[in-house]
């Protein structure tokens, strides 16, 4: 199989990032004004690594993913500035046909909703074969064989029989396995997973994550994992980008981020997770679960200053006047907050 060869070639050039997004601005033009869904985002993804992108709903995570795929709905949205370099090619200026050759082949995507992301009138085998036939120019028969092989790889039992079934005959977890099979069928270099487990039962979530990681190991793909679930990030990612209101507020290796979150927003996210595995020697009185007050601001008319300031407990006068620059607080740990150094040590449960 070609998988081994791909994995080997991945090891050869470890240096340059496979995906480099810089100063990406994706805006939506609505009746109420311009929504700056992504506003000056930069991030990079190394070969074979897993990058977690975290943030609340509406902070621009999904739009970032769609921008990389160049799938921003053309009716209202547009990438107004920035650059997305994939394997030393600029994606934003690529011809539509060249972009189609990359989608599903070199960069694949898994969507949040496994229930509706499959065509109800095509058998799942056909849907996997579609991508293979498209990019590897295999005849139908061979593409279908490959589809059955993929179904077996994503651990769907009786893959030959299942390939002939329609999406409504499969459970949610099975459908998400099929989505993974579609995404991985052409052994992509990058897999973008947009909230892949959000719509699933907790017990299935772990299985799907494990499966994704296993497929990643098998193919050597880099994964951009978009989620609002810090628990998922902690288990899977090597690197984390925290997004708020269309911008990156913090970026760090996963251990550093969890050891010492430097942005008040990241802290807010962490303290709003209930914890069950508390050490017994700690105080018997359970820590009260805190929330981040307020909502993600409307991305239409954002005043100057830090976008998080209205919800931030540590906001100072400076925060309301100017947006903080991104600084490297520790090696590889970037944060955009005026008061990052002044924050009190976080009480870890």
């Amino acid at each position: 199989m070609s998988v081994a060869a791909t994995a080997a070639s991945v090891g050869a050039h470890q240096s340059a990032p496979i995906l480099a997004v810089s100063d990406l601005r994706t805006h939506f033009y609505t009746r109420d004004g311009v929504v700056k869904a992504v506003d000056g985002l930069s991030l990079s993804l190394d070969r074979g690594e897993t990058l977690g992108v975290v943030g609340e709903s509406g902070c621009g995570k999904s739009v970032t993913a769609l921008s990389v795929m160049r799938l921003v709905p053309p009716t209202s949205g547009r990438i107004v500035a920035g650059s997305i370099r994939f394997d030393d090619r600029e994606l934003l200026t690529l011809e539509p046909s060249a972009m189609r050759a990359i989608r599903g082949n070199r960069i694949s995507m898994i969507f949040q909703e496994p229930m509706t992301s499959l065509n109800p009138v095509m058998s799942v085998g056909q849907q996997i074969a579609e991508s293979v036939a498209l990019h590897q120019h295999l005849p139908r028969r061979a593409a279908l064989d490959r589809a059955i092989e993929m179904l077996a790889l994503v651990k769907i039992p009786e893959s030959r029989r299942r390939a002939a079934e329609y999406p409504h005959q499969l459970s949610g977890g099975m459908r998400q396995r099929v989505m993974i099979a579609i995404a991985m069928a052409c052994t992509p270099t990058i897999l973008i997973a947009d909230e892949p487990t959000t719509a699933l039962d907790v017990t299935i979530q772990a299985q799907i994550l494990d499966l994704m990681l296993e497929m990643k190991e098998r193919t050597g793909a880099a994964v951009m994992l978009i989620t609002h679930d810090l628990g998922v990030i902690a288990e899977t990612a090597q690197h984390v980008v925290v997004m708020y209101a269309g911008r990156k507020v913090e970026e760090a290796p996963v251990k550093a981020l969890f050891a010492r979150p430097r942005h008040p927003y990241t802290r807010g996210l962490m303290t709003s997770i209930p914890r069950l595995n508390r050490a017994p020697d700690e105080s018997a009185r359970p820590r009260r679960l805190t929330e981040i007050p307020g909502m993600v601001p409307s991305l239409i008319d954002m005043a100057g200053g830090c976008t998080f300031a209205p919800r931030c407990a540590y906001a100072s006068e400076q925060c309301r006047v100017a947006y903080p620059p991104e600084v490297e607080a520790a090696p590889g740990h970037f944060v955009a907050c005026w008061n990052a150094d002044a924050l009190p040590e976080m009480v870890r449960a």
């Binding site: 009716t75 989608r103 009138v121 095509m122 579609e130 579609i182």
Partner: protein
């Protein structure tokens, strides 16, 4: 048969009845309508072998005969055998009905798919369609035939044109719903091109309601053809069609009512059969209902 498939079929159909019996029980309208329609189609195709004589041979010595062993439905005012004319007349009705349904569906499907998927085309095309919809089929046919010679082809064109916009609207509305489905976005995300998305994803979803619509168009085309022929603006008078047989029999209705009623009965049964098939198909082809059997 292997045991595995045997048990599989048992869960789907009760063992006593065959697949055919099961189908009839489940979709009686399709079965009855289909059987009637099939009988009429076979009769029209096999017309020369069904004890008919040449439907346009004039025999002045046998005019306006009542039904008898020789002339089952009697004869018309030129002495032509009415039974033969009615059986042959089915050919015109079916040819017009089926061609109009096929043409209107094909043209409407193509325009509807493009118009629903490409917004730029949509605005212009839909206004043209609105305009076309305003033309009544019968008026258009009369105008076209006034401009040229009466022929079945002209009838087909005249009936097809006003039906196209109805198909376009149907297909477009389906496409507009489906194009927003996540699986279309997912298909785009694996690099599928726009024409391929139309053919592989949109078309199969649009097909079931379209087939149903096609049967209704077929039924209405059969009726409009009969109406046109009745008015003398349709099928040329020498070719027998249910409409012009009835038109010619009109003066004798009080004396020999069967001359009007028999072709009328054939027309009514044909239209009923097509509509029954259409109704049954609508229930049968709904993917959510059908595939859960």
């Amino acid at each position: 048969m292997t045991t595995a498939t045997a048990t599989a079929t048992v869960t789907v159909a009760p063992p006593a009845r065959g697949r055919f019996g099961e189908f009839v029980r489940r979709h009686p309208t399709v079965a009855i309508g289909g059987a009637l329609l099939l009988a009429i189609v076979i009769a029209s195709i096999a017309a020369p072998w069904l004890a008919t004589v040449d439907p346009i041979t004039i025999d002045p010595s046998h005019r306006l005969r009542s039904p008898s062993a020789d002339n089952w439905f009697g004869t018309d005012r030129f002495g032509r055998d009415l039974y033969s004319r009615v059986i042959y007349g089915g050919r015109v009705s079916l040819v017009v009905g089926l061609s109009v349904a096929a043409l209107a569906t094909l043209i409407g499907l193509t325009i509807g798919l493009v118009s629903g998927y490409l917004r730029a085309v949509d605005a212009v095309v839909m206004r043209v369609m609105d305009g076309m919809m305003a033309i009544p089929a019968i008026m258009l046919a009369i105008a076209l035939i006034a401009l040229s010679k009466a022929s079945i082809f002209i009838v087909i064109v005249a009936v097809t044109l006003p039906e196209v916009p109805r198909v376009v609207r149907l297909v477009r509305s389906i496409v507009l719903t489906i194009r927003e489905q996540p699986y279309i976005e997912a298909a785009t995300a694996i690099g599928t091109s726009v024409p391929r998305i139309m053919l592989r994803h949109l078309l199969p979803n649009a097909l079931p309601p379209l087939i149903v619509q096609a049967t209704y168009i077929c039924a209405s085309a059969v009726l409009i053809e009969a109406a046109l022929s009745f008015l003398g603006a349709g099928t040329p008078p020498e070719i027998p069609s249910w409409g012009n047989i009835m038109a010619e029999a009109r003066p004798y209705f009080q004396l020999k009512p069967w001359m009007v009623l028999l072709p009328g009965l054939f027309l009514a049964v044909t239209v009923l059969a097509i509509n029954l098939v259409g109704d049954g198909l609508r229930d049968m082809l709904d993917p959510r209902l059908a595939r859960r059997m």
